[in-house]
């Protein structure tokens, strides 16, 4: 049993590079689980808040204009109309009416004209 405990406690040192110098150190769980940054892409419509997909106005292959309504995302008792940020074609619709979505979920993929 003692052996188990020592095994569990053995966390390995890692390297952290700051201004070109490599430091031997432990990482925290929070640091290791940090999310890599995903660059914003106007062709991907993500849910900006968790909520319910109340209505979907577009379907695959449909041509859309900038500012056209794509769907309604209901969250915190507010009905948010999500508009197209560009003029182009709907490449894929990943949600259906009536589904609940978390924050940051890919809802619709667009293709710029």
């Amino acid at each position: 049993m003692n052996e188990d405990k020592t095994k569990q406690k053995k966390v390995r040192f890692k390297s952290l590079v700051i201004e070109g110098t490599k430091y031997r150190t432990y990482f925290t769980r929070k640091f290791e689980n940090r999310k890599p940054r995903i660059p914003e892409n106007p062709q991907y419509i993500l849910s900006f808040i968790p909520g319910l997909i109340l209505k979907v106005f577009v379907s695959n292959g449909q041509k859309v204009k900038e500012g056209q309504d794509l769907l309604v995302l209901e969250a915190m008792k507010m009905k948010n109309r999500i508009k197209s940020p560009l003029t182009g074609t709907v490449k894929a619709v990943h949600v259906k009416e009536g589904v609940k979505v978390p924050k940051g979920l890919l809802l619709i993929e667009l293709e710029k004209e």
């Binding site: 040192f13 952290l16 201004e19 430091y23 940054r37 909520g51």
Partner: protein, 514 residues
């Protein structure tokens, strides 16, 4: 004998109320692995020191058949007592009475003892174990919370406020602990969140347990809302009692002094810190090598571990320690560790506790996540807190102190009273590698063997600047000292700064980067 009969009646009435929600409810409380509110108070306070107020308070709710319900003490126990002879005010929510729910009279009892604590200038301990607002009492219960939050704020920085989470503490109720100085949690018992698992499930469809959402582990390791984590209620009570020995009764008092004890022999200061600034060690061992009896009382032990805070005694007097921890993330400052340091510095400053800062950091944690999380705003809190603090400030630079990190960690420029540096200190605008790469960019890129040239230039820079003497020549540090001398000099510094008196410009209050 009417008097005897009247006394009997009092005893009978007391007996009834002391049972709280009744035997069944008490059995349920015990089955949940919890102590009763009365047991908790008894175990925290000195034997027989508790004096209860408002035992016979009754609620005033009339709607929803509430007028037919008897809620003993309205679900909360309040009173005064002592811990190691120090007077404290205490309240404990009684989960056995209507789930410890907060109604108007319940809140009035709490605010009564809060007012008493503030008036008498003594610490307040609040034990939270409540299902939340008493829905039947509607807006009156919201008013009750508001009155509590207001008093928490009013008392902040005047009397120590301690919150103990020994059960659920959900919704708005969490903001009272959040406004207090120290929050204690216990494994499997404490639960704190704004929106519970059910709401999250309805809105998001995500399932999460109460434990994973707001259990003791979450708040002591991830969110940083809790300051002390314990495995059991008994361990938690010992922590509370120990904390009381380190802090003063109020902001006009100094903490109690104890007999001076030498550090233990097992902590040999010269053997702890490696000379190579890239190698890790546990800075808490350095603290243990310089504090009385090697007794270091760490705060927020599990959260933002790249910075260590806590209390120790030197020459019998309480000292607050703020230390970079090279063992974790090389001891960098980041969003969480900045918050951790800043709040603690302000606590020490409010309650007349001298601050010793042990410095060994490469700077700030790089990364888009840090920048986007506001490391500028959070990092600024450290500068603000140190600059604002008027208690004695002692700084010991153990090894690296580069760039903004050097300035932030209680440097002379932020009005540290004593700045010592070990011979291993490197006080420079940045690490030798980074600096050489910038200063000698041309030489390095134009050399026949750039790598060889780079190494040579790094070495040159190290020799010239990676030491404490450049800063010492400008008087930015007062003395370069041998590690062995650290305790002696800090004791001296604390001694001679006991009568420190400075004041800044008159203002209502500053506008810190909250």
């Amino acid at each position: 004998m009417p008097l005897k009969r009247k006394i009997k009646e009092l005893q009978k009435r007391r007996q009834e109320v002391l049972l709280g929600g009744g035997e069944k409810a008490i059995e349920k409380q015990i089955a949940m692995g919890k102590l009763t509110a009365r047991e908790r108070i008894r175990k925290i306070l000195d034997d027989d020191s508790f004096h209860e107020y408002d035992l016979f308070v009754e609620h005033e709710a009339r709607d929803f058949n509430m007028d037919k319900k008897i809620l003993h003490g309205d679900g909360v126990i309040i009173g005064t007592g002592t811990i190691y002879g120090e007077p404290v005010c205490i309240f404990a929510q009684d989960f056995t009475v209507a789930g410890g729910s907060l109604g108007m009279m319940h809140a009035r009892k709490i605010t009564k003892i809060m007012d008493h604590a503030l008036k008498m200038r003594m610490p307040l301990i609040g034990i939270n174990d409540s299902g939340g607002a008493r829905i039947q009492e509607g807006v009156n219960s919201l008013a009750g919370y508001g009155e509590i939050f207001f008093r928490n704020t009013l008392s902040s920085g005047v009397i120590p406020q301690i919150s103990v989470i020994l059960g659920p503490c959900a919704g708005g109720a969490v903001y009272s602990p959040a406004l207090t100085d120290f929050v204690f949690v216990v494994d499997k018992i404490s639960k704190m969140f704004i929106t519970g698992p059910e709401v999250i499930k309805t809105v998001l469809g995500e399932e999460i347990s109460m434990e994973d959402l707001g259990g003791a582990h979450v708040h002591s390791e991830i969110s940083g809302n809790a300051h002390f984590y314990a495995e059991s209620e008994e361990e938690c009570f010992e922590q509370i009692k120990k904390l009381i020995t380190f802090i003063p009764r109020n902001n006009t008092h100094k903490p109690r002094t104890f007999e001076t004890r030498e550090p233990k022999n097992e902590f040999q200061i010269e053997k702890i810190v490696p000379g190579d600034p890239t190698q890790p060690y546990d800075v808490r061992d350095v603290v243990r090598a310089i504090v009385d009896d090697s007794d270091f009382f760490e705060i927020q032990e599990k959260w933002a571990r790249n910075l260590v805070i806590g209390f120790g005694r030197m020459g019998g007097r309480t000292v607050g320690f703020v230390c970079n921890q090279p063992l974790v993330l090389a001891g960098v400052l980041d969003v969480d560790s900045s918050d951790k340091a800043a709040r603690f510095i302000r606590y020490c400053d409010a309650f007349n506790i001298p601050i010793v800062t042990l410095v060994d950091l490469p700077g700030y944690l790089p990364g888009a996540d840090q920048e986007h999380a506001g490391v500028i705003r959070h990092g600024a809190k450290v500068l603000y807190a140190y600059s604002e603090a008027t208690v004695p400030k002692m700084t010991v630079i153990l090894r690296k102190a580069y760039g903004g990190g050097y300035i932030a960690m209680s440097s002379r420029h932020l009005r540290a009273d004593f700045v010592f540096a070990w011979p291993t200190a490197e006080i420079a605008v940045m690490g030798p590698e980074g600096a050489a790469n910038i200063i000698f960019r041309k030489e390095i890129s134009e050399a026949k063997d750039p790598e060889k040239m780079r190494k040579q230039k790094v070495r040159e820079y190290k020799e010239k600047f990676a030491n404490p003497y450049v800063a010492a020549a400008k008087g930015y540090i007062d003395s370069v000292i041998e590690p062995e001398e650290t305790r002696k000099l800090l004791l001296h510094a604390i001694e001679v700064s006991a009568s420190k008196a400075i004041s800044g410009p008159k203002k209502k209050h500053g506008v810190p980067p909250f």
